[in-house]
Amino acid sequence: MALGDSLAIVNVSKYYKKMKAVDNVAFKVNKGEFLTILGPSGSGKTSLLKLIAGLEAVTSGSILLNNQDITSKKAYERDFGMLFQNYALFPHMSVFDNIAYPLRLRKISKQEIVKRVQDILELVHLQDFASRFPKQLSGGQQQRVALARAIVFNPSLLLLDEPLGALDKNLRQQMQLEIKHIQEKIGITTICVTHDQEEALTMSDRICVMNKGRIEQIDTPENLYKKPQNRFIAEFIGEINLIRGEIIETNSGKAKVSLANQKTITIEMAEEIHNNTILIAIRPENIQIAERESQFNNTFRAKVVEMIYLGEVIKTKTITEAGQELTLKIPPQMSKSITCGKDVILGWNNDDATVIPDKEAAVLYA
């Protein structure tokens, strides 16, 4: 099947009247890659997808498919497969006719259409549903029909617009994997838009996080989680603790930082940060309860203020002596020894922390 194509977005902007929906965005999607555009609502991610699909025209910038400019091409000339949030199945056509629709537009012979529709129905496990109508299918089945229809004509690019938004949680997790498997199997270059970070983390090779029309960071799911480059990313993906600090001195990628509790730590810095005020970001699962202070690079004394039982873990909120709120996750068996109101020692390793610039220094006071 298709080997996939590469797509480049070059300084693309889209203005609606004076509102900048997409503001000078640039990135590249590699052949066969699954890239997710993630962002809160209003971040411009859906607008960007519409620009890529050709459903709307760019205000400035260009879009390149395999290094060829397709900016001025209309949607029907772009040959992209698209999966809509509500599936957009044609209610007056059977499953077969829905999937055959893009093939018929391409004037493919009847036998070939029958063969290809059958093949693709097999791929999505819906062989026996060809003559049904969309209304007679469950949500998950409709979703798979829509996916089949989007890829049956071997498009150069597959666009997914909130593909799983309408499904319930169990089905969503199952479909995430199914979509990913099918995408890998046929090797199609895919761009997916979602506001659901779990979905993004599960399916994507890379994630492009957007906020207010701009790209905040493009990276692999692991890097986004572990090495957020700014506060937005840090807070948007997963839960995180932010501790404010002042850089005292820097030395070959390492920085000496003084924290609010008067302690000074030395920490790795990925890139040059010019302000003195920084934030140290630590995931809750990387903070542990220590028996002795010497166990970790860094420790805080804190009081447990709230414990929330989540099954696998207990989400525990604490307040340090300096008034900093820190959240951590502890295994359920520890709940015997730790209760609300108890004083604990919290510890973490420098390796697990990331330094990010504090653009809104005044907001947080640790």
């Binding site: 809509f84 044609f90 629709y101 209304k135």
Partner: protein, 301 residues
């Protein structure tokens, strides 16, 4: 003497609106349904049954003479044919005119334009039927504005007859019935997901193809309901064909009216009305028969 009701301040009092409480009364919904139902039953169904009874009962008892008269005198079937023909022409023309208007209404995003178009569509509803019909005679006559305009711009050499013929009747009736068609179409088109058309275009369909293959089939429910509404109403039209039509545009309602209030032959009037009623039912049944397997109509929402 005031009675003090003590309420426990800790228990929040659930405030329920009186209207909501009404709906809790068992059987009330049925009662509410009963009123309009009785209205229709007594004022429409009973009176119509009573009227139809006249066609088979007269002073001498049961008789089929009035109904057989429908078939032995050719005039009744001829007029019925004319009536069906005119109603059908009016339906087709209003559909052709209303479809683009309804589509525009759905497509136009500006609220101002939308209400402007809607207003233009609804204006005929606000003007008395007689006034409108007379206005058309002014416009359509040989010395009327339309003919004068067409001659002055050189499209016509001499006036064409627009009045007192089928053209006049069709123009007048279409004007009256067009809003029903527009509203029926608009109601259905509003409900069509525009993303379906986008999806089709995304798959490679040129805009007009996406329209023909996706939007149009989905709007068929509106086409059907609008056409039936216009057609059935058109069958009963009376004033417009009488004033704008020629002698060969006699509609069946004119015959009914004449027998009701001119010749006082109510038995015959009833027989004609029954004939019209049966033919209308047949038309409806046939159209449903042919459309029964349309997947769009099967949709139950």
């Amino acid at each position: 003497m005031a009675t003090e009701v003590k309420t426990d301040p800790r228990v929040p009092v659930k405030r329920v609106s009186p209207a909501y409480r009404l709906t809790r009364i068992p059987g009330l919904q049925w009662l509410l349904l009963l009123v309009p139902f009785a209205y229709i039953l007594f004022l429409v169904v009973f009176s119509i049954i009573g009227f139809f009874k006249l066609s088979i009962y007269d002073e001498t008892g049961f008789t089929l003479q009035y109904l057989t008269h429908m078939f032995t005198e050719t005039v009744y079937l001829q007029v019925l044919w004319v009536t069906l023909k005119i109603a059908a022409i009016v339906t087709v023309i209003s559909l052709l005119l209303a479809y683009p208007v309804a589509y525009l209404l759905v497509k136009v995003e500006s609220k101002k334009w939308k209400s402007l178009i809607m207003g233009a569509v609804l204006i005929p509803f606000w003007i008395s039927l007689l006034v409108r019909t007379f206005a058309w005679t002014m416009l359509l006559q040989e010395q009327g504005i339309i003919n004068k305009l067409l001659i002055s711009v050189g499209i016509l050499q001499e006036p064409i007859p627009l009045l007192y013929n089928t053209a006049g009747v069709v123009i007048g009736m279409t004007h009256v019935l067009l809003p029903y068609m527009v509203l029926s179409l608009y109601a259905v088109m509003e409900g069509i997901d525009q993303r379906l058309v986008q999806a089709a275009q995304g798959m490679g369909a040129r805009p007009w193809k996406a329209f023909i293959q996706i939007f149009f089939p989905l709007s068929l429910t509106g086409v059907l309901s609008g056409s039936l509404l216009v057609f059935v109403q058109g069958l009963g039209y009376f004033i417009t064909p009488a004033l704008l039509g020629g002698p060969d545009n006699m509609m069946i309602s004119v015959l009914i009216q004449r027998n009701v209030s001119e010749t006082l032959n109510w038995h015959l009037a009833s027989a004609i009305a029954l004939l019209l009623f049966i033919v209308t039912l047949l038309v409806l049944l046939i159209s449903f028969f042919f459309l029964r397997n349309n997947p769009v109509l099967k949709e139950v929402e």
